[in-house]
């Protein structure tokens, strides 16, 4: 068994002393790793071999002096204590605004984060800058601030298109909606005509339901 010199005053002394405690921990079943490899790093092993006289001074490895002069920052031990603290999330105060923005307006396309101009030109960045500007001016709550920034940007000429989910509910009846959805017509005049027709029909229905029976006069429409 390679003897570990207890009188060593190098930083590796800990290791020699700790070897016994580590053997008790070694029920990990690391089959490929032998005892020496697991518990004693190479400097220590070579040092001990030299002390034992197995490696002569003239035969010492090239790296030995170098490693003595510039030891690694951490000893290369196989078994080490694991830091179980949770890793910190990297978050910025703008992330709140960013999250809100993307929820309402959706993805605005890819941004090359390495390129400063592409970041500066991105809609999200502009929005955040405006938001932070207004935040500094008045002490308004975040809900109103969001709408404020939208208004401000619209005034400056930047109109953002909302995601379908968040778009304002228009004054469309169910019938109209259904009709428009099933038959999308691009000509605005025709759509207007259809709208009017449907409105008329609804109006007629309402009147009919109110026990007012009146004939639907098609001539009147034109």
């Amino acid at each position: 068994m390679v003897e570990v010199d207890q009188t060593q005053t190098t930083g590796y002394q800990q290791l020699g002393q700790g070897a016994n405690s580590q053997t008790r921990l070694a029920n990990t079943g690391s089959v490929e790793l032998n005892a020496l490899l697991t518990f004693i790093p190479i400097t220590c092993r070579v040092q001990n071999l030299m002390k034992a006289g197995v490696i002569k001074e003239k035969n010492k490895p090239v790296w030995f002096d170098v490693m003595k002069a510039f030891p690694p920052l951490e000893e290369p031990l196989y078994l080490r204590k694991i830091d179980k603290r949770p890793l910190p999330n990297i978050l910025y105060p703008e992330d709140k605004i960013r999250a809100q923005f993307y929820q309402v307006y959706g993805s605005q396309g890819a941004i090359d984060l390495k390129n400063k101009t592409s970041i500066a030109q991105s809609l999200c960045h502009i929005f955040i800058q405006k938001y932070q500007e207004l935040e500094k001016k008045d002490d308004v709550d975040c809900y109103r601030l969001f709408n404020l920034t939208v208004e401000e940007l619209a005034r400056e000429g930047l109109v953002l298109k909302k995601r379908r989910k968040y778009s304002l509910q228009s004054k469309q009846s169910d019938k109209e909606k259904r009709f428009l959805e099933t038959q999308p017509i691009k000509d605005p005049k025709i759509t207007d005509m259809i709208k009017k027709a449907l409105q008329m029909a609804e109006h007629a229905e309402k009147k009919a339901s109110n026990d007012e029976v009146k004939m639907f006069d098609t001539n009147k429409k034109s």
Partner: protein, 300 residues
């Protein structure tokens, strides 16, 4: 000198393990058994023959012992000359940064090459946690302050090894960068192994390659994993054979057995090119300085 330890074919056509004439040094066989160390030493081990410095016209070989490299004699010689006002050369090991390794790169360079970008949190190796700065959108971000420190120490170590004429082996089993690593090794006059690793390459080299073959003095892993995302066998084997290692460890790698780990991204081409360039420049500079020293020494 190009060395390619090729696991596939043993054909002489391919450049192979050079039976080194110019760099023979002593073997240190790491014993596989903890018990009887002396028994293992029944294998013959090659004594230091020394470097064959120069074959001069008169036919005199100037041999110099590698292992007992010391500048004491040299510095004494030089000290006499410095009185006249020439450059003062000191023992490289005394200097904290003899090869000006800190000038080779900046933190900004690392950032630009995406060295800080790790894998997702699910792939995080437990032993890499100390090198992580934080998590952004489930992606681990490596702390570049730590990377800078580790990389400087690693480059410094590699430079010193190159200065002392040690052989360096670059290992990378990521297929994307096979050519890059081989090219780097060729350009700095060192060795590369980017093919299938034969089981007994280090541990059974006597039998597989013969007694004259010398193992590398330093192994540099540009990717510590093999092509199936497991730890490369050479990490364990170099630790067994008492060979110091430098390794670029990504967030899914285990840095524990590597003597000089460098936490950083090993998947981006930008990052890999950066590392290759840094190691190449460091090694070439060290060799150049050694050459200057030798020439200076010879003159006297």
């Amino acid at each position: 000198m190009q060395l390619c330890i090729d696991g596939h074919s043993m054909s002489p056509r391919r450049v192979f393990l050079n039976i080194v004439n110019s760099r023979v040094s002593s073997f240190v066989f790491g014993s596989n058994m903890a018990t009887n160390v002396l028994k293992m030493w029944s294998r013959p081990f090659v004594e230091v023959v020394g470097t064959l410095k120069r074959f001069q016209a008169t036919g005199v070989y100037q041999a110099r012992k590698l292992a007992t490299y010391s500048t004491n004699a040299a510095t004494q010689k030089l000290a006499q000359q410095t009185e006249s006002g020439t450059v003062k050369i000191q023992d490289p090991l005394q200097h904290p940064d003899y090869f000006d390794v800190h000038k080779l790169f900046t933190l900004q360079d690392l950032f630009r090459a995406n060295v800080h970008v790790g894998h997702k949190t699910g792939l995080l190796n437990v032993h890499m946690r100390k090198y992580i700065f934080g998590v952004r959108q489930k992606i681990c971000i490596i702390d570049l302050d730590k990377t800078v420190k580790h990389l400087q120490i690693a480059l410094n170590f590699a430079s010193h090894i190159a200065y002392r004429k040690g052989s360096i082996l670059f290992i990378n089993r990521s297929l994307q960068f096979t050519h890059l690593v081989e090219k780097t090794a060729k350009e700095c006059g060192e060795f590369a192994q980017t093919r299938r690793w034969q089981g007994g390459c280090f541990t059974n080299s006597l039998v597989q390659y013969g007694p004259e073959v010398k193992l590398p003095d330093l192994v540099v892993f540009l990717n510590t994993q093999n092509n199936v995302f497991q730890e490369h066998a050479a990490v364990r084997d170099s630790a067994k054979m008492n060979i110091p290692t430098i390794g670029i460890v990504d967030t899914n790698c285990n840095p524990n057995l590597i003597t000089y780990p460098v936490p950083g991204n090993d998947d981006t081409p930008d990052a890999m090119e950066l590392y290759c360039r840094l190691f190449k420049n460091a090694i070439l500079k060290a060799k150049q300085m050694r050459k200057e020293f030798d020439d200076h020494d010879n003159v006297m």
